[in-house]
């Protein structure tokens, strides 16, 4: 299939136009149009997964067209082992989130239009291989996100949306500056990310440091790494369920994706020098700090948000190990966290839709009232706490195994969080689902078929990748080996 990646971007955009042309009152038509716009990308993603050449570290399905020749700017897209996992994740979560957005009743047309724009932009970020295109998609993504939180969010949505926007914009400025820095330092001047990675040797050490820090801070805000993380809990608490899913499932990964793509690929000397402090140590701290903060939360969604901060720390710790296990584990963790946290946010949304609050202490003993729901929650919680046999265990164990080789103490810190994570997860299960039934919720309806539909595919993936993770590992391994090999000589 030619233009596969372009179709993945174009179809949601076409869908957006269709949605805009439909009458505002035709809620169901709009929703089904959104479904129709997310199915082809999912199909293409599935197709990519089957035909993607494993073992080839380079970019595949590359499309290159001159865009602004004067500045050597191209429309250049392609996927390698690093980005394809994220493209798969994006296509899957966008599809599921349309169904998770079914309950949106106000501004349906605008919501789905923005949602599809977001979809296209996110895919664009992962497949863009020209910095101008990359930055364009990066910024394009912010706009719908801002409105989706700011208009359809909870009571403090304005604060959360502006906070999200400003934080991310601050990161964008740094990224933009660094992109320009790379452009002007390369000869010939180019925005071509493949060429920049290939010509990484021409960047002096001093330049690499400066640009590395700029890129890092820009991406760290997205991860989010301590101390740039405080936008996340607010954004999550206010965002509607599906947007939380996208936010945690996809957007956070752009931070670590960017670091691997740009910092690792183009600035290897600085990566070798700075990874310990900025990625390994900070990652371990993220794991611990996020887990501790999560434990103290009383709002279910905030707890999940902080757990994301903790789990993204594993990605940082793993990539800074510069072992094949650690770096593969990091990217696998990006994918696995995407699916697990998506389940968690969907599940919190289910409960919120029924009880209209998320106070952990406000429930109690609801397991017999919603048995199927409780089953899904148990699966997601145990996946999140790294139960072997489920997907997140594989990635966490790989991260820690890899990290142990380079920084055993930090690996030990990261591993100690398994106790904390189990602590807050089980404590939450206990407070919400076990014990005597809170009579106020004696008649909550169990999960609906539509809600189950959004959870079942994720549940299957979580189990399947725990039992048989090799399909994902084979997908990412070759590219990451090359990426790692680029940095290794400078360690």
């Amino acid at each position: 299939m030619d233009y596969a990646l372009s179709w993945m971007i174009a179809v949601p955009l076409v869908g957006m136009v269709v949605v805009l042309l439909l009458p505002s009152a035709a809620h169901n038509a709009i929703r089904w149009a959104a479904v129709a716009a997310t199915v082809p990308p999912l199909g293409i993603a599935a197709w990519l997964f089957t035909v993607f050449e494993r073992g080839d570290p380079d970019f595949q399905f590359v499309e290159r067209y001159a865009w602004i020749p004067a500045f050597d700017i191209h429309y250049l897209v392609g996927v390698d082992g690093l980005s394809i996992s994220m493209v798969l994740l994006t296509a899957l979560l966008c599809f599921l989130c349309v169904f998770a957005s079914w309950g949106i009743e106000e501004g349906v047309k605008a919501y789905f239009a923005l949602f599809l724009l977001l979809d296209a932009a996110m895919v664009g970020v992962f497949v863009a291989l020209d910095f101008v295109l990359f930055f364009l998609f990066w910024e394009l993504m912010l706009l719908p996100m801002y409105f989706l939180i700011g208009v359809w969010g909870g009571p403090r949505r304005a604060y959360a949306a502006i906070k999200f926007f400003l934080y991310t914009m601050a990161g964008s400025v740094l990224i933009l500056l660094a992109i320009l820095g790379l452009y002007f330092s390369s000869t010939p001047h180019t925005f071509d990310m493949i060429a920049l990675a290939e010509s990484r040797h021409q960047f002096t050490e001093a330049l690499q440091y400066v640009l590395w820090i700029a890129f890092f801070v820009g991406f760290a805000i997205k991860i989010p790494a301590f101390p740039f993380h405080t936008w996340l809990p607010d954004a999550h608490v206010e965002a509607p369920t599906a947007i939380s899913v996208i936010l945690a499932g996809v957007l956070l990964k752009m931070g670590t994706y960017g670091i691997l793509r740009v910092n690792y690929g183009m600035l290897p000397i600085a990566t070798a020098e700075l990874a310990f402090a900025c990625l390994a140590a900070l990652g371990a701290w993220n794991i611990l700090y996020g887990a501790l903060c999560a434990m103290a939360q009383r709002d279910l969604k905030k707890l999940v948000a902080y757990s994301s901060i903790s789990h993204m720390g594993y990605v940082m710790l793993g990539m800074a190990s510069f072992t094949q296990q650690g770096i593969d584990g990091a990217v696998l963790q990006m994918f696995n966290h995407g699916t697990v946290t998506a389940m968690l946010f969907l599940l919190v949304g289910v409960l919120y839709d029924r009880a209209h609050h998320r106070e952990i202490y406000g429930f109690g003993g609801i397991a017999p009232v919603m048995p199927i729901y409780t089953g899904f929650v148990a699966l997601a919680f145990f996946a999140a706490l790294g139960l072997p046999g489920l997907s997140a265990f594989i990635s966490e164990v790989l991260v820690l195994l890899g990290a142990w080789q380079r920084t055993p103490w930090l690996a030990a810190v990261g591993a100690s969080a398994v106790v904390l994570t189990a602590g807050y997860m089980l404590w939450t299960l206990q407070r919400v689902f076990l014990g005597p039934l809170n009579e106020r919720y004696a008649s909550l309806p169990d999960i609906s078929a539509r809600e189950a539909l959004t959870l079942v595919p994720l549940a299957i993936i979580v189990v399947a990748l725990g039992v048989y993770p090799m399909p994902m590992i084979e997908l990412i391994d070759a590219t990451l080996a090359t990426l790692n090999a680029a940095v290794l000589p400078f360690l």
């Binding site: 914009m169 320009l180 164990v397 142990w404 076990l434």
Partner: protein, 670 residues
């Protein structure tokens, strides 16, 4: 040798769990409890049949080649790391599989009767099946990482079954406690695994497979890590993991609370199988541990101390299941002691015999509890001998076995442990083990006399004997408690210790009897028989004849020793204050710092920028000339529209971007 049938041993119960987990509620509603019971029991029975076949296949092979392998698929392959999903049956794991499927199967059958009338009958059996599957993965795993899957899997089932009646928050809490305490052990386990893998990678061959580890272990003997032998560190870390699962000091605290679960669960998980996982782990890595004498010495004393402490606490418990729980901890201490003196064969032997008599004791206790309408306090029992003759008989036989009365199973295996300690040259360990034998006999017969003898003190009239579905498993288990010992009947009494010989290839130290002084072994034996007799006699004197009032002993030394034991030495309270409250405190500090320091700083910066932009706006308006004013007007108009949505802060932001862009361009071009 390849044996593709091995996979069905864990897969069949897993299938049962899947069917019951997904459709059990429907089956129970539509076809009743019997259908659920059949779906649950059948896979375990089949697994037992395959286990027997496996055992026979191994027995038919030459002793040195007794290995069957079933490789399913490559689980993880990255760089030098290669982990298969593969099952391994050798004499050790085949024996474990027999214990798990055999005793597990009996407990399944017993549960059919015990759980009758339970609304969530299907959930109980789904979890029981899942547990069995995970335990089988644990003992059949061919590598350390797959073992960990079973290790955590049984922990999950233990959590869910302890809290089976979760409407009572205390049960749910006990489940969480069990899981979390075990997680502390798992943390150490994981570090041990990492260190082992990388050390093997550096000095021999990267692997996590047991047979490879055995082969390369010797290559690590000289490697040091920060002044320690690396093997000492690895084995110590793995052993900390074992102390979690096998309820040893310092991580034993979860097991007494785990009695909150239904009694068959206590028998299966918290007596016969799961809690022996730590013992199995050390026996499985016997070759590695044998190279780490420092760790072994520590293990021996941890086991001895645990055996003594738990036996002492068991003496003063009044809850029938708590007595048995502490007894289990104490008996596990014996096994760990045996591991520490290098007698892993003796440890596994005791593991097996203990599985019989302790499962029988727990299930017997379950019958009593059911007959008395969930009464568990020994002080409100008594006189059940006549009403429940079968339960009494089987309970008595098992009590005699655990007390170490010859020729019952417990006597033989315990004696082998004591003798191993003595022949290892450590009189101190033997002395502790010997004292524990006395305590064991005492607390066990205190229980027997209080529950079954004397007058009925229960409020419930006419307790009735349990149905056959429960007493038949009891009888079979009691028979095991009588006869299992003959498998390892010592040479000194004219036996061949066939179990030791069976395990010898897997457990290199099974043949500790090779060169020993006959007289010393007989001495150890006679001394422990005398100790057991003394323990039973004291219990008889106190609780049947009433020669000494227990209250008088409790009041000894102002009652302080009794109080300390009754309150379990306040260990729970200390852990709560130190670790639980400590972590919760730290989490509150972190959350507060997050809100009041970091987020406040962010809000502060935002306020600062806002103020600065207002100032800048004022400067613009006053200083800049008309041309700029017109540009500014346009910007303000655009900003005004945006402001309605974003309170105007975006403008400032766009200014910053443009300014920065200009600055960089100027810098680069200039």
């Amino acid at each position: 040798m390849a044996a593709a049938y091995l996979r069905w041993i864990p897969l069949l119960p897993l299938l049962g769990a899947a069917v019951l987990g997904l459709g059990g509620a429907w089956v129970q509603r539509r076809h009743g409890e019997r259908a659920v019971a059949a779906i649950a029991c059948l896979p375990v029975a089949l697994a037992f049949a395959i286990a027997v076949r496996t055992f026979a296949a191994l027995a038919a092979m030459p002793a040195e080649q007794r290995v069957l392998v079933d490789r399913l698929w490559t689980w993880i392959e990255i760089g030098s790391l290669h982990v298969d999903v593969a099952f391994l049956a050798d004499p050790l794991s085949a024996l474990m599989v027999l214990v798990v499927t055999g005793i597990g199967g009996l407990i399944h059958v017993y549960s059919v009767g015990y759980m009758r009338g339970e609304p969530a009958y299907w959930r109980f059996f789904a979890l029981l099946n899942l547990f069995t599957a995970m335990m089988l993965v644990l003992v059949l795993a061919d590598n350390l990482l797959l073992l960990f899957v079973g290790w955590e899997g049984v922990g999950l089932c233990s959590y869910a079954l302890i809290g089976f009646w979760y409407a009572d928050l205390a049960n749910a809490r006990a489940g969480s406690k069990a899981f979390l305490v075990n997680r502390v052990g798992d943390f150490a386990f994981a570090l041990g695994l990492f260190l082992l893998f990388w050390t093997l990678e550096a000095h021999a061959e990267a692997t996590l497979a047991f047979r490879e580890i055995d082969r390369h272990a010797a290559a690590l003997a000289g490697v040091s890590l920060g002044g320690w032998s690396v093997l000492t560190v690895i084995t110590a870390l793995l052993f900390v993991g074992a102390t979690g699962k096998s309820a040893q000091i310092p991580l034993y605290v979860w097991l007494p609370d785990a009695m909150a679960g239904p009694t068959p669960v206590s028998a299966l998980i918290h007596a016969a199988t799961m809690v022996t996982a730590g013992v199995y782990l050390v026996a499985r890595l016997d070759v590695l541990f044998a190279l780490a004498p420092a760790t072994l010495a520590a293990i021996a004393w941890v086991g001895a101390a645990t055996a003594l402490l738990a036996a002492a606490i068991a003496v003063v418990q009044n809850d029938i299941k708590k007595v048995l729980a502490y007894s289990t901890i104490s008996q596990l201490g014996y096994m760990v002691l045996a591991l520490g003196v290098g007698a892993s064969g003796a440890a596994v032997f005791h593991l097996m015999t203990h599985a019989f008599f302790k499962a029988c004791l727990f299930l017997g206790a379950g019958s009593v509890i059911l007959a008395l309408h969930h009464e568990q306090d020994l002080r409100r029992m008594g006189g059940l001998r006549a009403a429940m003759p079968r339960t009494y008989a089987t309970f008595l036989v098992s009590a005699l076995a655990i007390a170490g009365v010859p020729p019952l199973a417990g006597f033989v295996s315990k004696d082998e442990i004591l003798w191993s300690a003595l022949s290892h040259g450590d009189g101190g360990l033997w002395l502790v083990g010997w004292s524990v034998a006395g305590l064991t006999a005492f607390y066990m017969f205190r229980l027997v006399f209080l529950a079954f003898h004397g007058e009925a003190r229960s409020e419930h009239a006419a307790p009735r004997e349990a149905p056959a579905v429960m007493t038949v498993p009891l009888t079979i288990l009691a028979a095991g408690a009588v006869f299992a010992g003959f498998l390892g009947w010592p040479e000194v009494l004219g036996g061949g210790n066939r179990l030791g010989a069976w395990l010898a290839p897997a457990a290199a130290h099974g043949g500790a009897h090779a060169s020993h002084a006959l007289a010393w072994e007989l001495f150890s034996m006679v001394a422990s028989i005398a100790m057991a007799a003394a323990g039973i006699a004291v219990a008889y004197a106190m609780y049947v004849r009433g020669l000494v009032a227990p209250e008088r002993i409790a009041a000894w030394a102002g009652g302080a020793p009794y109080r300390w034991l009754a309150r379990k030495l306040y260990v729970d309270e200390v852990y709560q204050a130190l670790f639980v409250d400590g972590v919760l405190g730290a989490s509150r500090v972190a959350a507060r710092a997050d809100a009041r320091v970091i987020d406040a700083a962010v809000d502060g910066v935002a306020a600062g920028v806002r103020g600065w932009s207002r100032f800048q706006g004022a400067v613009d308006a006053i200083v800049v000339d008309g041309f700029v004013n017109r540009v500014a007007d346009v910007a303000l108009a655009a900003g005004g529209r945006l402001r309605r949505l974003q309170s105007g802060r975006i403008n400032a932001y766009l200014y910053v971007i443009v300014a920065a862009l200009v600055a960089v361009l100027a810098w680069q071009l200039g």
